[in-house]
């Protein structure tokens, strides 16, 4: 494979100043987030359409644990705060703080996933399986899709954290961290909607 080592000339040839003044990757990510809104929108719509149409129990009010999930939600919100702190630190070249907050963000994401794992196994124990009723199917597919997004985010954050530990992530990568943050905040916002629709409005 022949790569160009003369990156400066390539960058100049491509004109890094984009027409809209926004980095290509960042704009693509906004487009991706727009697309994801439709994905989660369709899943949430499916949940709402089938609300109250389960033929057998367990029904949502018998099984959903609002205090526990409120804690998970708080945890995820705090992870967004940690993400903001990580980006701010990396932008001002404070890699010590940057590493710390990247790790905290990923850790809070992992705690959320642990909570979801506990919740799923608890529900299974209570008799709500994927195929038990429409509530089970729509609940697991919706929250499971969200959980998969959190998992991808955690892997992504840990990748950046390891890069930072190896000294390969610096302020020159602030944009990469910012895009990671865009994704992470989006996943957080989606959870707020899911928490409201599934847990709070029963």
């Amino acid at each position: 494979m022949a790569y160009n080592t003369d990156t400066h000339a390539v960058a100049a040839a491509h004109g890094h100043a984009t027409f809209m003044g926004v980095d290509n990757r960042k704009m693509a990510f906004w487009a991706f987030i727009g697309s994801e809104c439709l994905l989660f929108g369709s899943l949430i719509a499916t949940y709402l359409v089938y609300k109250g149409r389960s033929l057998v129990g367990p029904y949502p009010h018998e099984i959903l644990n609002i205090p526990f999930t409120s804690f998970s939600t708080f945890d995820l919100l705090m992870s967004s705060l940690a993400m903001v702190l990580a980006l701010a630190a990396i932008q001002r070249a404070d890699m010590k703080q940057g590493k710390l907050w990247l790790f905290v963000t990923a850790l809070l994401g992992l705690i959320f996933l642990g909570g979801q794992f506990w919740e799923f196994s608890h529900f299974l124990h209570e008799g709500l399986g994927l195929t038990t009723n429409l509530f089970g199917s729509t609940f697991y597919v919706l929250t499971g899709t969200h959980g998969a997004h959190v998992t991808v985010g955690v892997i992504w954050l840990l990748t950046l954290w390891i890069q930072a530990l190896r000294g390969k992530l610096g302020p020159q990568n602030a944009l990469t961290v910012e895009i990671t943050g865009l994704y992470w905040h989006f996943v957080d916002v989606v959870w707020i909607v899911i928490f409201t629709v599934v847990y709070l409005i029963q």
């Binding site: 390539v10 040839a13 491509h14 290509n24 994905l39 899943l43 195929t131 729509t138």
Partner: protein
């Protein structure tokens, strides 16, 4: 060979898209010919079984929509858009290569179902999808479709959706961000504009069908009841989700063709596009309204008078911006110095045929009349007038127009005219009688019909027409092939076009533009009332231009997806995990390989 496998050059990817999509177009056409040969007389002309017939019409529709028309448009997006906006490549060259490989592998995966029967212990060779191209629930359930047929369909479409979405993000960013200096939004060529609108529809519509397919996958693989009444599920939900994707998809198919003829008509009339801004805005309006009409596919499900009226109203509204475009195209021709090249013939053919398809579309918009037409050949006539008479004729027009730019070689105008007239006669012979056979009560998707129905004559005409289209396509294929042995003598601007792709040699050098032009008007190469033509670009770049090298990782990452799908088909979790591992490794190597843009 290696340079093609690893290429990230948008022009090469465009050619790969073109030839692959054209191959699938031929396969889809062959399926159509078998269907028509079977229907040439009552009780079956070929002795095709009901099962095979179901597979043929399902694969014909799926192939033409997802493997022929969309990727043929994508061939032009790839080749032409960076040239029209004055860029050296798309925003994400490797993602672009990834889209192509995913499309190719997804298409091969779908078509592999034709010979995969023995692997699944089926009676015959073929286990191709057989539930129709819109796969209505609960025909697609395990109960009614126990074999792997529908699994091939739902997994294949999910793979193809990834290709479309990746291309969608890529082209939105390319068009908005990679424009040459001075190329303001209302200086974008109309084809670029329609492409931009199309990509917005892609990135908003494909997530919806992805969800529908995932839910169907859960029903079939894991025993949920999303679309199964036995567990409280509602088959109508499938129709809502499918058509919320499916109607924007119609505009995903037609808007690029509208863009193409909005380039061709001005060039061959030597007049600027009449009402450029109105053409652009009506494209935007069509896309917006395209999101509010999906239930007109579902009048017969009994939505109730209010929903019926609303969706009938929005559907009729779409006729307004569409009609606006048609009058603008006619206005462009009006008083122009018209040259009847093959490309222009196809563009004019588009206008005429699309009007017929549009008019029958308005008759579907009216709910009471639609109830008479649902699931009859009248609908088949409509869809073929808009997608063949519209999209295909538009794409042909684009091929004759841009082929010299893409290859440096001219297609034969003489053979092109034979191709055009055979196509036009063939399609009207094939599809016009379907209006009558449909209104006389012939249902679509039946493999035989009784002579007493009185539709035999119409079916015979349709079959003759279909075979004329087949001959026309062979003429076209030969025309394409023979250019390989023709001299590479196309000048930079053979038709006198006004847009930037004509400012550079044919075929373009790998870096496209020796210097990035600065754009001062909507028609940079023409002398207009207010602007002179731009100064020609230098023959040689003033400084060496470095272009990004190739990469294996887009193709390798793409290979993981059909592996996952094959594992799912065979219910073998280790194969699914192996495919996922390929994707993950591919993404990491891709992200960390030294590839500068």
């Amino acid at each position: 060979m290696k340079s093609w496998l690893t290429t990230t050059d948008h022009k090469r990817i465009g050619l790969l898209y073109f030839w692959t999509a054209f191959g699938f177009f031929m396969i889809g056409g062959l399926e159509a010919l078998i269907i028509r040969a079977q229907l040439v007389r009552p009780d079956g002309g070929l002795g095709v079984s009901a099962e095979t017939f179901n597979q043929l019409f399902t694969m014909h529709g799926t192939t033409m929509v997802f493997l022929a028309l969309m990727p043929l448009s994508a061939a032009f997006f790839n080749f032409i858009i960076p040239l029209q906006i004055g860029a050296r490549d798309v925003a994400f060259p490797r993602l672009n290569a990834f889209s192509y490989w995913v499309f190719l592998l997804g298409g091969l995966f779908l078509n592999a179902s034709f010979i995969a029967g023995p692997l699944f212990g089926a009676d015959g060779l073929s286990v191709a999808p057989d539930a129709g191209w819109f796969g209505y629930a609960n025909l697609t359930s395990r109960q009614f479709s126990p074999g792997p047929n529908v699994d091939f369909w739902l997994l294949g479409l999910q793979i193809l959706g990834i290709a479309s979405l990746a291309a969608g993000f890529n082209f939105v960013v390319t068009i908005l961000n990679m424009r040459a200096p001075g190329m303001r939004m209302l200086r974008l060529p109309p084809f670029t504009w329609m492409t931009l609108i199309t990509q917005f529809l892609v990135i908003t519509a494909f997530p919806v069908i992805t969800v529908a397919l995932v839910l169907l996958m859960f029903d079939r693989f894991f025993g949920t009841h999303f679309f199964l009444p036995a567990g409280g599920g509602d088959p109508i939900l499938w129709q809502h989700l499918f058509w919320m994707f499916g109607h924007p998809e119609v505009y995903i198919l037609i808007l690029p063709a509208m863009g193409i003829i909005s380039e061709v008509l001005p060039t061959f009339s030597k007049k600027p596009l009449f009402g450029y801004t109105v053409v652009v805005y009506s494209g935007v309006v069509i896309a917006f309204l395209g999101w509010s009409v999906w239930s007109h596919h579902m009048f017969s499900t009994g939505l109730g008078p209010i929903a019926d009226s609303v969706f009938a109203g929005t559907t009729m509204l779409i006729a307004i911006p569409t009609g606006v475009k048609i009058f603008n195209w006619i206005g462009t021709l009006w008083g122009g110095q018209i040259r009847f090249t093959t490309s222009l013939l196809f563009a004019v053919g588009f206008i005429a045929m699309f009007i017929i398809g549009g008019l029958s579309g308005v008759t579907h918009a009216s709910a009471p009349s639609d109830l008479q037409q649902t699931d009859t050949y009248y609908v088949v006539a409509h869809i073929h007038y808009v997608l063949f008479g519209g999209t295909i004729l538009g794409l042909f027009s684009g091929i004759y127009y841009w082929w010299p730019k893409m290859t440096g070689r001219f297609l034969s105008e003489g053979m092109g005219k034979v191709h055009f007239w055979l196509t036009l006669i063939g399609m009207n012979l094939a599809f016009f009688p379907m209006h009558f056979s449909g209104l006389l009560g012939m249902p679509r998707r039946i493999y035989t019909y009784p002579a007493e129905l009185g539709v035999t004559r119409f079916n015979q005409l349709s079959t003759i027409g279909a075979f004329i289209i087949g001959i026309a396509t062979l003429v076209f294929f030969w025309n394409l092939l023979r250019t390989r042995w023709r001299p590479s003598n196309a000048p930079a601007n053979p038709w006198g076009g006004a847009t930037l792709e004509w400012a550079i040699p044919s075929p373009p050098p790998v870096y496209n533009f020796t210097v990035i032009p600065t754009v001062a008007s909507r028609l940079p190469l023409w002398q207009t009332e207010r602007h002179g033509p731009m100064t020609p670009l230098p023959d040689q770049p003033p400084a060496p231009i470095h272009v990004p090298g190739g990469s294996w990782w887009p193709m390798i990452t793409a290979f993981g997806l059909p592996i996952i799908a094959m594992g799912a088909l065979a219910h073998l979790i280790p194969i699914v995990l192996a495919g996922a591992a390929v994707v993950v490794v591919g993404i990491y190597r891709w992200a960390y390989e030294p590839f500068e843009m």
